[in-house]
Amino acid sequence: MRELADATLLAAVAVGSVRGASALAGASWPRRSPATAILLWQALGLAGGMAAVGAFVAVGVNDERTGVAGGLITVARRFASGQLANRGEGPLLTLLHITCLAAGMTLLAVLWWMLVMAFAVVVQARRRQRELLTLLAYGDPKAPGALVVDHPAAAAYCLPGIRSKIVVSVGTLDLLPPAELAAVLAHERAHVRARHDLVLIPFSSLRRAFPRSGLIARAHWTVALLIEMMADDHALRTLVDRALVERGEPLPARELAMALLRFGAAGPSCAPEGALAVGGGEITARVNRLLEPPPPLPRAAQAGIIAASALLIASVILLLVI
């Protein structure tokens, strides 16, 4: 009955990850230490996915001697020799095993395919943006290190990648005083340098795979917000260094918060309602955090969360291999 014990434990880990994720989505501590929270999100997502696939496959391979991974090889050999049923099992049991195996493998294939597709979509969209920028954008001394696009709406973004680009619109240059523009550029440079885009891609691929899941939509939204907070923090650190050199500069947190407020206030009020409903309050959350920064989590708590994440992943791998 060892394979059933494996399957039960894996299913428990999968359910636990989902429970953990919904608790994490509602928790307030992540805004204190966004990087640690993102690590926990990644661990929950990875462990939950692997455990869900593993639970199905564990029932499907039904092997007493080896673990899930070893059992899968045995089953593949058995299928290759044209034998579907295990020794001495009835047709109903064989059907159950094959159904579970197929379900597990389908889930795995869907998750992989969606991840590959998410990467493909991103790569294609970036290539198009690059081509358009080559034709349309120009440099401007007001925004050093950034490309400028002639459009009245306020937009500032970065195109991550090996040849990364930071882009601002003329509307942004008109909207922001120089110090606030510098804060925005520092925020975008933080994204580019830390390759934050790679963190978000698995979550957006999950969202494509399960568009109706409220939990996944919330996870995606929360991780995206945490990434922005991380870039805010990073921008502040680089700006504080510079502010110390040029004395008398106002605190950069306020510059960044003001820039965010100006962006939000200038935002299109005609945005399609509903499509963006889940994203409501994002700028408000970041502005509040910048103006009244919460204390970061104690080091011991951060270490505990990191250890728990590692333990979670390790336990799933052990369940699968042994």
């Binding site: 970036r126 945005a271 963006l276 409903a277 409501g280 103006l291």
Partner: protein, 116 residues
Amino acid sequence: MEVLWQSDSALTVREVSNGLPQNLAHTTVMTVLDRLAKKSFARRERDGRAWRYRPAATREAYVAELMLTALDQTGDRTAALARFAQSVTGTEAEALRTALARLEGHSSGGDTRNGL
């Protein structure tokens, strides 16, 4: 591309060369136009032995396409680019406008910039 956008009619490679501020080799201009045509930014038509090029869309159309992705107005938040600020709903924009007005009024009243 700028030269093509400014012209009303389709241009040959030589006409584009003449319209450029700097003096580039004929083959260089030809290569660039060829690549623009391959990427569908320019359309070309035969005129005797030469090609004539015209832009596939107006400059404004391309800027609009670029900004549509940049402003995230499709509602599908892709990970292709990292925006400084996400689109806001009407109610949040209203709240932010109020907060902005309050903060700006605050800082012009006295030097409290470091105190917040």
